[in-house]
Symmetry: C2
Subunit: 245 residues, 2 copies
């Protein structure tokens, strides 16, 4: 991992751009984080495209930092400045076509889009975790926050350093991953936008039901995909405070 730039934001948060090999990412640490008082880490998921997602991710990271957490994110395969995959572009086009036609989105298209993304992204996020946890100002346990929910599910199953996850049920999950959801045992908070245009409410409820965790909470709010209320930021920080501190 190589840091390429750093800047101190007006709330004292240190924002650093890095690359992990060829993959760009961001790390935000609260002013209080130090080798003698390392901050627990939250990995911030997103749908891909850091240049576009930056304002929302930075806002979430600064809110997390105000609650004492470090936060980091990594570009997804095939998004932002990373090379495109022909197969993924084809699946994405098929998905858009199905949604545009008002047709139900077939599980086959979802699997073709999401499974290769999960396969490629999860090892990258585990590698960035290795690099971040080697920094003296950052400590475990680690939380995962956001979407792509399928990436969060896989990480929750395979990565023992992830101790809690706040999952945004705002993207498709192939049916084959429901078996993985049953293997998740860490505490979960699941966000659902009740009227999410591009998402299937019943599938999200079924997925919530499938998770194997003894502590899981669903927070459903009104509005579309980007309408998650501000107060859920605080609720998320309190969830992580219960499980990461």
């Amino acid at each position: 991992m190589q840091f390429n730039s750093e800047k101190r934001l007006d709330d004292g948060v240190l924002e650093r751009e890095f690359t992990l090999g060829e993959i760009p990412g961001f790390l935000w640490t609260p002013r209080s984080a130090s080798a003698s008082a390392p901050a627990p880490l939250i990995l911030c998921g997103h749908p891909g495209g850091l240049p576009m997602m930056y304002p929302r991710l930075a806002a979430r990271a600064r809110s997390a930092a105000a609650a004492g957490f470090a936060a980091a994110t990594l570009e997804l395969p095939g998004s932002g400045d990373r090379p495109r995959s022909t197969a993924a572009e084809q699946a994405r086009a098929d998905l858009r076509r199905a949604i545009g036609a008002g047709a139900p989105v077939g599980d086959e298209i979802v699997a073709r889009l999401v499974l290769p993304l999960v396969e490629q992204a999860v090892p990258e996020w585990r590698a960035v975790l290795d690099a971040l946890l080697a920094l003296p100002e950052i400590s475990g346990p680690v939380g995962y926050s956001g979407g792509v929910i399928a990436i969060g599910v896989r990480l929750a199953v395979v990565e023992p350093r992830i101790a809690a996850a706040l999952l945004f049920a705002g993207s498709f999950v192939p049916r084959v991953m429901f078996d993985e959801a049953r293997q998740v045992t860490i505490p979960l908070q699941v966000l659902l936008q009740w009227d999410d245009e591009g998402n299937d409410r019943q599938l999200a409820l079924d997925l919530f039901d499938a998770f194997g965790s003894a502590e899981k909470t669903l927070h459903a709010n009104m509005g579309g995909h980007t309408g998650v209320p501000q107060f859920e930021g605080d609720a998320g920080n309190r969830f992580f405070a219960r499980h990461l501190k």
Copy 2:
């Protein structure tokens, strides 16, 4: 309304037993409440039977008081020390029989049990509201918190002093009340226990969907009817702080 006893609890909360006519009730006010700094009020709903419900209600009231709220509750018709109604007892027995037999609980039984309860209880809770808001140390706006959810729904529709409601979706709602749910416009937070033995999850989700409120949030947690996690107490206080202060 007549106060029959008062005691100062160890956290400074003043607990008063009262009767409104023949109906027993409790009022809890935080130490800070005074004529110059009156506390906003939360009406605490429950399934009936104050002597049995007292420990849980007092715990909720003291948590609310720590967040600056006054809290009050009233015995329900046909419960605790109040006279029984033959029709209600019959409906309750039919409901128990249906649940015991593992049969789906017919809407007819639910309507026979719940509608007369709502008809009788709601005017009583409005009357206690008149009496409580006449006290100098208590102010509006008012929140309703808990069950019976059908009572909360009716109050939210007919009582303009109720500004926000935290509804516990842990009891049956007759289908005829879904039309009333559509008329609710105040901010709502709805608690659902995912594995509530005596309740219908799909009906609770349908009811949440039906509410007309622009701001409504569903908090679903694992476990049975009495398993609402402790952290939902804090979440409830924060919900009321957003809307009553």
